[in-house]
Amino acid sequence: MTVPLVWYVFLALILFTIGLVVIVSRHNLIYTLMGVELILNGANINFIAFARALGGKYPIAGNIFSIFVIVLAAAEAAVALAIVLHVFGHFGSVRPEDPNMLRE
């Protein structure tokens, strides 16, 4: 007997929700990026679990999608951290509410 699909989906759900709470509750741009990573990991678990459960015409597609998500997440982390360091050099803080020049 193997682990049912719904357990994996539920794990992905928990990771997604925790990532969402990290994004909205912590006042630091680096925490925002960490929350995004958690959300992407939850999405990846869904890809793999459904690929395993369904199989289908393209059995490798779930793996490929997950690899592309990992690639995009790594690229996003690099650029976003460069932007965060730039924001810190410009505003002297990493709080997400400080860069608000467009609002004024």
Binding site: V3, R26, I48, L81, H86
Partner: protein, 174 residues
């Protein structure tokens, strides 16, 4: 309770507790290490689902790359002392719990497929799919171009700041 169930429980507990450490920890360095634990748990989930290549990729890219990058970002920015006092984590955590319950209701109301496929995702199959023209060759090439753009863009963003700081220093000297 089979061994697979136990293994799933262990890796799921690792992933969720790592994510909770990231959420609740007062120190951002500890949050980054909680993120490592969460990524290790997710890698275990991939291994459990039979995707060995993806599990290794997760370890190499996330634990070896992304978290180290975040630690660099943490070290290069000051700790936000006001954030510790001002954060209302519990309020947002309660809100997250409510959304989790709502999500779960919608999840358990959905009929999920119960069939179990074979484990797949060996490195040979993935490599063949990525380099076959009718499969995923075009996205593969686009991703490589994206990585090149990201490399140049990140270097450019980080360098411009340095140049500006130099100009400021020169201006102060003059």
């Amino acid at each position: 309770m089979t061994a697979e169930f136990l293994a799933f429980l262990v890796v799921a507990a690792a992933a969720v507790s790592g994510a909770l450490i990231t959420l609740w920890s007062k120190s951002i360095v500890r949050s980054a290490f909680g993120l490592i634990l969460a990524f290790l748990g997710v890698a275990g989930v991939y291994a459990l689902l039979g995707c060995a290549f993806l599990a290794i990729t997760q370890l190499v890219v996330y634990v070896g790359g992304v978290v180290v990058l975040y630690l660099f970002g943490v070290m290069l920015t000051p700790p936000d002392l006001e954030e510790r006092r001002a954060s209302r984590v519990s309020f947002w955590a309660a809100l997250g719990l409510v959304s989790l319950v709502l999500f779960s209701i919608s999840l358990f109301g959905t009929r999920l497929p119960s069939s179990q496929g074979k484990p797949m995702g060996d490195a040979a199959g993935i490599g063949e799919a990525l380099l076959t023209r009718d499969a995923y060759l075009l996205p593969f090439e686009i991703a490589s171009i994206l990585l090149l753009v990201v490399l140049v863009g990140a270097v450019h963003l980080a360098r411009r700041e340095k140049k500006k700081a130099q100009e400021n220093a020169e201006g102060e000297e003059a």
